[in-house]
């Protein structure tokens, strides 16, 4: 059964201006991601994978083209609208965890819930549940500095899922971790994808990590050069109109 397209990019371009020079990062990129897909973005440094991730997550705006996430046209949203949209629909996982050092694990996880109308008690319960899901029960009162890198990333994942977002974006989530911790994090992401049916878009340099995804995209010089699903090369130039 065909699933609905969760994310649609049509002819997206992105360029940055540095001094007087226009630097193209993405050029005429079209893509469709289905609901519940675990997408890995790979490519050499400067290929535009993090830029693509930021565009999908609503952190950055395209220079041209259209980005639809659940039928929301991100390019047309105001700053306030897109900020609110992010808080409701996107969970973020960063390479360096980006936890707030002065807040305890539980408080870090509760942070996105402050943007909801939940009561203090409900927020606490939800944060505890999220920490339980990532296997950090009993670590609620620890500050980030009192946790290992793997544990910090688990707290970050708990923070990303606590609002039950539609989309999880992960930028090199295992980049700062040792092999064992990285494996645990990847297992967790797989679990979130399989059991909780979260749509995940992950940027990685690590081929082992990329293997855990259900679909692998290769970017080079701002262009999509390969799109591989379950180890099978499906197509090299994706047209969303045809893909859906």
């Amino acid at each position: 059964m065909d699933r609905e397209a969760a994310i649609v990019l049509r002819h997206v371009t992105k360029s940055y201006r540095r001094d007087q020079i226009q630097i193209p990062v993405l050029s005429d990129l079209s893509l469709s991601v289905e609901e519940g897909e675990f997408l890995a973005l790979m490519g050499p440094s400067g290929s535009g994978k993090t830029t693509l991730l930021n565009l999908i997550a609503g952190l950055d705006r395209p220079t041209g083209g259209e980005i639809l996430v659940q039928d929301n046209d991100l390019a047309r949203m105001s700053d306030g609208q897109i900020t609110k949209w992010r808080s409701n629909h996107v969970g973020f996982i960063f390479q360096t965890y980006n936890l707030i050092p002065v807040l305890r694990a539980q408080e870090n996880v509760e942070l996105p819930l402050l943007l909801t109308s939940l009561s203090r008690k409900e927020r606490r319960e939800r944060a505890r549940t999220a920490l339980r899901v990532v296997g950090l029960e009993g670590r609620e009162d620890h500050f980030p500095r009192q946790l290992s890198g793997g544990q910090e990333q688990r707290v970050a994942i708990a923070r990303a899922i606590v609002t039950d977002p539609y989309l999880l974006v992960a930028d090199e989530p295992t980049g700062d971790l040792d092999r064992v911790s990285a494996e645990e994090i990847l297992l967790l992401l797989e679990q979130l994808n399989h059991e909780f049916e979260k749509t995940i878009v992950m940027v990685t340099h690590d081929p082992q990590a990329a293997k855990r995804a259900t679909r692998l995209l290769h970017l080079d010089k701002g262009k999509l050069v390969a799109d591989v699903a379950q180890g099978r090369d499906v197509r090299t130039a994706v047209q969303p109109e045809n893909a859906s």
């Binding site: 808080s87 973020f92 980006n98 807040l103 408080e107 402050l114």
Partner: protein
């Protein structure tokens, strides 16, 4: 709208405690200095306010701006006593009688007084004009809360004097039992120390008018006359009588109006105080801004993370502004508390109206604390505003990449 939790700010302040503490100290010093300065202005304004009784007239020569430049004959002063509507003195209390207060029961409350403003050396060696008042038996009853706190009231004609408590130790020979030497010819025995409800009299030395007249070879005139009216109607009538009687050549002023007009020094101090407070505030504002810029710089990635999670620009702005205001508010409160340690201090300043020594007790009423509050808010808000604006203008993607 959701705000960044307060514990984020408070814990960051405690983590960065050395810079937080330094900024708090700067704010505290600045607020304490300004509070003391405006405590002086408040004290001066209070002194002028309590010095003027609404039913008392101060009669001076026409054209004279103040008591020191006024002069008219004793005969005229005695003629004033014959006017109708002058209040009668009260019976002295047993304690007052014990302290040698003159008995003024059923006598008119009118006092023709003589002033001498010699240049005197302070205890620290500096020289200044000092007001010596030739007082009468009615004089203490025409001052607010006049009290002899040590010794007794002077006996007229015996070269005795009483000294305001504020002046004791500021000038040599002003302690009880000592000899107060104005010149070789003019020497008084200090027999009492007085207070007068922080009024202008607290900057004076009092002796009998006859004694001062003999010592200054001026036994035919007075500087001014104070008259207490029975009521408001009598006051109006007295003003009319004195003003319209051309042979007097005098101008009666309500005492309260007179002291309000002697506000040159208070005005000068207010202007100077305001300028100093503004300059200090600007200095401290930079300290607060510097601290907050450092805070924004070191927490750029945290700001980016919070923006990514969905906190609005306004929430971030308020968070950093609040942090700045908390730092300066703690400093401001500390400074205001420190300034209270000076509440018993008094300063001798030169009054610009009479060009004589004026002793002002610091007073911490509404004015100094309003100044402290204003400075605190200015330091916090303006010191925090630009760093906070910088925080909200950060590009989220770039901020997330900050190390």
């Amino acid at each position: 709208m959701a705000f960044v939790p307060l514990k984020y700010n408070f814990r960051n302040l405690s983590v960065r405690w050395p810079t937080t503490l330094l900024t708090v100290m700067v704010s505290a010093i600045v607020v304490a200095c300004s509070c003391v300065l405006f405590g002086l202005v408040d004290g001066l304004m209070y002194s002028q306010a309590v010095s003027g009784d609404p039913l008392t007239l101060l009669v001076m020569r026409k054209g004279a701006d103040n008591e020191t430049s006024s002069n008219f004959s004793i005969q005229t002063a005695q003629d004033l006593a014959t006017l109708k509507g002058i209040a009668q003195g009260r019976a002295r209390t047993a304690e007052e009688a014990q302290k040698g207060f003159p008995d003024l029961q059923d006598k008119p409350l009118i006092s023709g007084e003589l002033l001498n403003i010699p240049v005197m050396s302070r205890s620290d060696g500096s020289r200044v004009n000092l007001t010596i008042r030739g007082a009468t038996s009615a004089s203490p009853y025409l001052r607010p809360k006049f009290e002899i706190v040590e010794g007794r009231y002077f006996n007229p004609g015996t070269r005795e004097c009483i000294v305001s408590r504020s002046l004791v130790s500021r000038f040599p020979g002003t302690r009880l039992g000592q000899q107060f030497r104005v010149s070789d010819k003019e020497v008084y025995n200090v027999v009492g120390i007085f207070t007068a409800g922080s009024s202008a009299a607290e900057s004076e030395v009092w002796t009998g008018r006859e004694d001062l007249a003999a010592n200054t070879n001026n036994d035919r005139s007075v500087s001014s006359t104070r008259i207490r009216a029975e009521d408001n109607r009598s006051l109006e009538a007295l003003i009319d009588s004195i003003t319209n009687e051309s042979r007097f050549g005098l101008l009666p002023k309500r005492e309260s109006v007179y002291y309000q007009s002697q506000n040159t020094t208070a005005l000068f101090l207010t202007v100077i105080g305001t300028v100093i407070a503004v300059l200090l505030t600007i200095g401290a504002l930079f300290a607060a801004a510097n601290t907050m810029f450092a805070a924004v710089k070191s927490r750029t990635r945290e700001i980016g993370t919070m923006r990514a999670l969905g906190f609005s620009r306004t929430a971030i702005l308020m968070s950093f502004l609040l942090e700045s205001v908390v730092i300066t508010a703690v400093g401001g409160a500390l400074g205001a508390l420190v300034s209270l340690l000076f509440s018993n201090w008094s300063f001798g300043i030169s009054d610009f109206s009479s060009f004589s020594e004026r002793v002002i007790q610091l007073r911490f009423g509404v004015l100094p604390f309003a100044v402290a509050l204003g400075m605190t808010l200015a330091m916090g808000v303006f010191g925090g505003l630009f760093p906070a604006i910088r925080a909200v203008r950060l590009d989220v993607v770039k901020a997330l990449r900050e190390l």
